[in-house]
Symmetry: D2
Subunit: 341 residues, 4 copies
């Protein structure tokens, strides 16, 4: 029997970047690969191969008419970990084509970084290193005037998807009371992770450390603004790990510059950041250049998850590791969460 045809169109990623050697071998075992490595697959190539294709790995545009011609297609894997609007999800759904993405690939990398940054803010690690280099260090107790223990500090998590849940698992030994705000999830699910479901305002008022993992949607842009920042108690640590657009960024900077809040951010309204951007000199802000997720290990996780699910699908079984596109949700998501580049 002929091996199934697999289209690989991973731009802006490359197949090499998302597959370690072993994963690549497993993929090659699965079928004949048609790969467009350095550029998007040309339309004529897509159109020529689609009728034979069983799997599509990549972000190729898949409008209704293309789907109609892809009569053998069993699954589309988005390897950017982001459901884009260039796929007709309803049509795929109607034809029983899985639309999948390994959205949790970056969760370990982002979550460990987020915890490192949270302890950094609580204990003043980077600030104290900078002071030491400037000859302004203070030893012992005197050096901890603005520090607090992360252990047992009340934690609030905004957005409880893969990243938030992984972070929650990592902090378990610290015994923090953890509140979660995520209006897309039932309370029982939140409780099953030993967290308390809570309203946004109450979360902001009661937490000493706030992790922002919420994706940007059509509905929540800038939903943390002046009013919300002022609900937080002075000295609260705020970690912006998803997208700059979920906060009123200028107000965010004002809060940190004024010393009311301390903060870390992995994302910026414009990336890269201008050379002269004053964000570079905010004292209480821990700066990270959209790098919490971009680890080789996380990228290789994309390949592992995609290939494992592809193996199942070709055996007639449902996928187990990737997330399935939910049409209603896919259309609400605006952009990719932090760490997915």
């Amino acid at each position: 029997m002929e091996k199934p045809l697999i289209l690989v169109d991973p731009l802006p990623r490359t197949l090499d970047s998302i597959c370690d050697h072993e994963t690549r071998s497993r993929l090659e075992q699965l079928g004949r690969l048609v790969i467009s490595e350095d550029a998007a697959m040309p339309d004529d190539l897509v159109d020529r191969h689609l009728p034979e294709a069983t799997l599509l790995l990549g972000q190729t545009a898949m409008p209704r008419d293309r789907i109609a011609r892809a009569s053998r297609l069993k699954a589309i894997f988005n390897v950017e970990t982001n459901f884009l609007p260039n796929v007709d999800y309803a049509e795929c759904h109607a034809r029983g084509i899985w639309v999948l993405s390994p959205t949790s690939s970056f969760a370990e990398a982002v979550a460990e970084s987020a915890l490192g940054m949270a302890i950094d803010l609580a204990r003043g690690i980077t600030v104290a290193d900078r002071a030491f280099r400037n000859g302004e260090e203070k030893f012992g107790l005197a050096g901890n005037e603005r520090s607090f223990m992360f252990t047992r500090a009340p934690v609030g998590i905004i957005g409880f998807g893969d990243l938030g849940r992984k972070l929650r698992a990592l902090i378990a030994p610290f015994r923090n009371p953890v509140s979660v705000y995520d209006p897309w999830l039932p309370d029982d699910l939140i409780r099953s992770h030993d967290c308390s479901p809570i309203g946004l305002d109450d979360l902001l008022r009661s937490s000493r450390v706030v992790f922002m993992f919420a994706s940007v949607t059509t509905e929540n842009q800038g939903f943390i603004g002046k009013r919300e920042f002022e609900l937080m108690r002075p000295g609260t640590a705020f970690l912006l790990m998803s997208r700059a657009a979920v906060v009123d960024f200028p107000e965010f900077l004002r809060q940190v510059e004024s010393g009311r809040l301390i903060a870390a951010t992995d994302v910026f309204p414009k990336e890269p950041v201008d050379a002269g951007d004053p964000v570079r000199h905010v004292e209480g802000l821990l700066l990270s250049a959209h790098r919490t997720g971009g680890m080789v290990e996380a990228l290789h996780q994309i390949g592992r998850m995609v290939v494992a699910d592809a193996e199942l699908i070709l055996r007639g079984l449902p996928p187990q590791l990737c997330r399935r596109a939910d049409p209603s949700v896919a259309s609400r998501l605006r952009s990719m969460p932090a760490g997915t580049r």
Copy 2:
């Protein structure tokens, strides 16, 4: 019945620094306090009160003859968390006087800081913040060329007392294989904490992250020298959390300056550090001014542990929270571990 007499001689600490309000009240319930708050208790005061004293909180010299006169004494609590050579431990032992110290008071504070620093080294958090401030940041993958995942990285812990065990508990969700070198402990105890007992050389060769928590003893000064540093693989992260004297410090700096190792240190051969000390400018070194333990919460833990055990002892029960002085060990310890000031 008259309340027991309690001598309080906590220098270099003060009773206020180690007791929150509630703990102070509990202590006052226990007995009549004779306190020397700002200076060591004068000898004549000690000598006058000792025959009546039931408890001694502090670092008062207690040679054999004083112990002989302290006929009601039930316990001596060192509140510096350090067994000093000015107590005749054997004589206390012979007379059934508990000699105790709340040595684990600082474990939570030091361990969470150590974990924060370890993630910082693995993921380049402080280095990346500094680059960002200097206009040299790199976004995404490019910014992680020298980063590695702390998750699942092989960890080695040297010295497995309160600090090492607390750190081990905190990193459990990261699923690191953890090796421990501690020649004072039986293998089964190390295994019971889900760690592998291992020789020092093997630990250094196999770990990606090495935590140094060993106290200085008469036997182990400078036991990590050139030979040992060279056993570590390039890129290993070394965290010096106990005392500078356990390493050959100049060699340590050379290893980090050369880029072979990355490191964090909370301790220095001379504290405070001279203004012109070149240690301030070592690029791969995360600097902490002996401040990982010195948190108000940790100091208050001293009072809580001492008062809780004092309550038990006055009821005729054995103490449960403080460590008991082991004569043979007390004489080997040279100086206090990090975080105890």
Copy 3:
């Protein structure tokens, strides 16, 4: 705006059996209920209401033509926790109708019972109680000649869905090495639960305690037969928690009667069991009358999960707690797993 119409046709369950008071209130908040409590909803009633119905809770037959008329239908919830062949899954899929079932409702109840039974077998609890009542007890060590420690014993789990994963979580503190055989799952998923993926034969050879949670499919009936039982080492404990049909039941009984294996079973080829069935007198067999799952708490969990997901769906969000029917799988499943009655 008029409240949505919700058809409730839960036979063989009743709405009261699956909803506690609070859940029932939440359901009534969601819409107008049309309930058929003691009998299956009559066809004419179904047909009359379907065009208005937004949700269907129950096991009502839903062939293609009915689905076509249910133009407002957003979701079908199977509350028997079992995907039946009387629904046209492909058509639901094509029309974007969720087909859902709270399959994990019984996981807590079954898993805690399975652990209790496993410790019972390892330590001889029920057997020893019976001996005591018969005047044949042996004290201390002599009473443990055939006992073994469940702690650290090699465990094998066959079938790693909700039940297997919950059991795995419950036994974590016992530090068992855990192997899993589940041909429907990728190895990485199994590893992410701290288990080793393994072939069936190796699992049987290497485990001291084997938990059978596999559902019956068209392919696996009687897949544990004489050959497989003989792979197990003498004294292995085998717990049959899913369906009698996955084993060769007469051979199973022979193995236990002969003393080669010890076992527990919650399921039988014919239920109820005949009065004279010799299964009642097998000495090494712990007998449970299909009761590990049938707890009021588990039934109420059905209602909680269904109502929580219904709330999300009516807000335009994807469900989070129920399992979604996978057409390919639904057609393979033959019958309901243990504990779902």
Copy 4:
């Protein structure tokens, strides 16, 4: 240098029963063994060897005059795991002789058994097996009328030593709220195990499952009597795992016979139990013939712990695994806890 002399006088145990092959080899490496295997070591043999002995493993009487002649003795290891009144603890203390016992040897065996029995009581496992054998089983829900979920049920632990703490660790995944009554321990220690310190009456009133691990002392005989049993809510499960003497045993049986409580017991006022003792026929009582601790694995743990600590002591280091005798406590303890035979 001559190897140290080690006296081995383990009656009522034997050296073989407490040492596996590897442990025995390690012990023989440590020194020259003088062993009295089948009977207590004769006085003349003890007296002849004591002046040379460095270690004593066993329950040999050690009054003051013998200790005085044992000038090289460094440690006495009680291998019955029980501090007996035939040792002059104060004199040992005064001479710096460790008096030790591996009291936690039985903790794993007893705790897993206790958990198995607790689930058994909650879910009616043994009772249902007996009914099935008698042809009186009920299937499904009907068979669970008197069952309750152990998961999340309020648990009370009386006596929080090695056994209680091990049990607490084992039940962590069940998410029970856990209350502890132990008047010998500070509240902070109890809290550090994620338990709530509580008074005895409140524990009895609020718990659904009560574990009794308290040792018998001169002060607590029969401290659970009619008044205390009546504080418990109907249907409470009571597990007597330590000594029969801590309860009013006849009242205990009345409570279970009446159906008010369900219970398990590993201990009896008189062991072995008389053939005609009506305790054998109490329906709601799970019977265990003092066998929860008596596992070969637990006995071998004695040897492992003793030899590991002996190795340390001979190197001049303090012991780490055995418990040290506290003179004040040793004199209060009346008899050995369950599972130590």
